[in-house]
């Protein structure tokens, strides 16, 4: 079931990807959603429940920016806790993928 594995993997790294995007600069949800939809092919709607969860967990916070056209735009930025979580999750991910690569390499 390669398809299932891929879905599970994506789901698992979604939060990590959002943390990574925000670590490079504050952003708004549409932009985050389109980046993730394009690069890792996830449903765009998923981003909003995820952003609310990350807000509940204290990883991100929001602020409003006046927009020249239309209503003020809601931006997301990482909190201190979000930054710490990103560092930890990134290290975990790199260690994990390296281990998998080593095993795959050895099997080839």
């Amino acid at each position: 079931m390669p398809e299932t594995i891929q879905i599970q993997l994506k789901k698992g790294v979604l939060e990590l990807c959002v943390l990574a995007l925000l670590s490079r600069g504050d952003n708004y949800a549409y932009e985050i959603a389109s980046r993730l939809a394009k690069d890792i092919d996830m449903g765009e709607g998923t981003i909003y429940p995820l952003m609310r969860r990350m807000q509940t967990d204290g990883l991100v916070e929001t602020y409003l920016v006046e927009s020249p056209s239309g209503p003020p735009r809601k931006y997301y930025r990482l909190t201190e806790r979000g930054r710490a979580s990103f560092t930890a999750q990134k290290a975990e991910w790199l260690a994990f993928t390296k281990a998998v690569e080593d095993i795959l390499g050895a099997a080839a």
Partner: protein, 188 residues
């Protein structure tokens, strides 16, 4: 699906949440549609990329329920969080419900017992001086105070246990939801 229909279905699915929360969530998705259209996509394309509004509503409800519970430990917040998490269908309700009902029933029984002990203590304390209590008036008063203190501390311990159980259920539901029911279902 048009933007209006999507937002209406979403709003319907969120019914029961505080109005400000619903408005905030619906505004998020309305902005998403506006941004999408501004980027040159049709409403139907944006709606398809967003996914099923009813499923999104279920997920958002669970998130809101958990958030309310993490902010205030009231019985209604606990019930809200538990029902929202159960609503995800993440937990096998058929298996869990009898256990859950048993636990809730037992907890309720203990609460009633704790309250009864408290009031019994009060009665002994108040009536002690007037009836012929074995050991005299002083021991009746002390026994009454002791029973009341025992009842109150039992209730306090029960409250802590209840909070712990709700937290455990929420944690379990979230964990399983994340692992077993990915929101990343392929967009069919």
């Amino acid at each position: 699906m048009t933007s209006d229909l999507f937002l209406a279905q979403l709003r319907l699915g969120l019914d029961g949440l505080p109005k400000s929360t619903i408005d905030e969530i619906v505004a998020d998705y309305a902005t998403h549609f506006a941004d999408g259209v501004a980027a040159g996509r049709t409403e139907a394309e944006v709606a398809e990329a967003l996914g099923d509004p009813r499923r999104l509503a279920r997920e958002l409800r669970a998130e809101a329920g958990v958030k309310a519970w993490s902010e205030e430990k009231t019985p209604s917040a606990a019930a809200g969080a538990v029902f929202a998490v159960l609503g995800l269908g993440a937990i096998d309700i058929i298996v869990l419900l009898p256990i859950l009902l048993g636990v809730v029933g037992a907890l309720f029984g203990f609460y009633v017992a704790a309250i009864a002990i408290f009031f019994a203590g009060g009665a002994v304390f108040a009536a002690g001086p007037f009836v012929d209590f074995p050991g005299g008036v002083a021991s009746a008063i002390f026994a009454g105070i002791g029973l009341m203190a025992g009842g109150a501390s039992a209730a306090a311990v029960l409250t802590l246990i209840t909070i712990g159980l709700v937290n455990a259920l929420v944690w379990y539901g979230r964990l399983h939801y994340r692992l077993l029911k990915p929101a990343l279902e392929p967009q069919a």
